[in-house]
Symmetry: C2
Amino acid sequence: MTPTPDHSFDIHPPLADRWSPRAYSHTHVLTKDDLGPCFEAARWSASSGNSQPWSFALGLRGDDTFAAILGSLAEGNAVWAQHASALVANIAQLTTAEGKSQSHAVYDLGQSVAHFSVQATVEGLVVHQMGGFDADQLGAALQLDPSHAVISVMTVGVIGDPAELPEKLREREALPRMRKPLSDVVTHGVRY
Amino acid sequence: MTPTPDHSFDIHPPLADRWSPRAYSHTHVLTKDDLGPCFEAARWSASSGNSQPWSFALGLRGDDTFAAILGSLAEGNAVWAQHASALVANIAQLTTAEGKSQSHAVYDLGQSVAHFSVQATVEGLVVHQMGGFDADQLGAALQLDPSHAVISVMTVGVIGDPAELPEKLREREALPRMRKPLSDVVTHGVRY
């Protein structure tokens, strides 16, 4: 169950229902076709000058890419992320082929991953993004060009049984989702 | 009309239909309530450790915040963006109150703005994000704390008549939307 959030205004269900669980089904299997719509959604997000400075490494549980991403995770993430059906590394192109810095690349990657996550929600999947991983180690494992960097990684799969989580995480999984009030989100100009 | 894109996989309509026009209705008026669901969607996006390092300045056409954002725009943007119903400055909190750098803030702001844009599409609105503006000038006009920075700005409104655009932009408005193929998006691990 998604812990129910408070909403000042009704929002589109895939945006309202998106959340970042830790309890993934250990047995659910994803195929590349299952994830096609998610990457297609990521592909069509907005970017500065349509530069599309994003790319992705897709690992399915049991394959080498999954192992490489899992091996880069902080222990606190690996303990639950190992059970997800897929692990994805989210890559930004920080420098163009001509050597020009793309200062917007990380921002645009965030947009692309947000699109991925919304489409995943539509597909009945859940996504949990993580910053706790060794970006240098993973970049080396993926043999990334120095112009590229892994900015975040994410789990994809379906909800599993929270009872299978370590006790501390089990409690966290049941906490209500929280956000700052809208009055602290729109901070200048017209206010709510 | 949205120029129709090619899709390898079907995606959720608000993701497929989102695009960034320049021809805005000169007369359409937005209220804060009209934009409430968009900011609510932005509010509920994902962020590292739920830090929510985003905030927004909302200007409605004719008010001081609109004028401040418009005044910061590059001329090539101002020529069409001046007619939008709203201008929004998208702000990242780059440093915490404790002085700690938030390296993920720009990425998370990108996610939040993506959520805003998807909800706007659901509301029948169109959003066009821009990097072509003077961030220092706008930050000063908004009296931002040095821990915060405007990373992007965006127009919000409804589609207008492309015939009202300058000729060069009119042609661009009718071009089909393009993206790299999916094979250049998922570049490592399982491929498409």
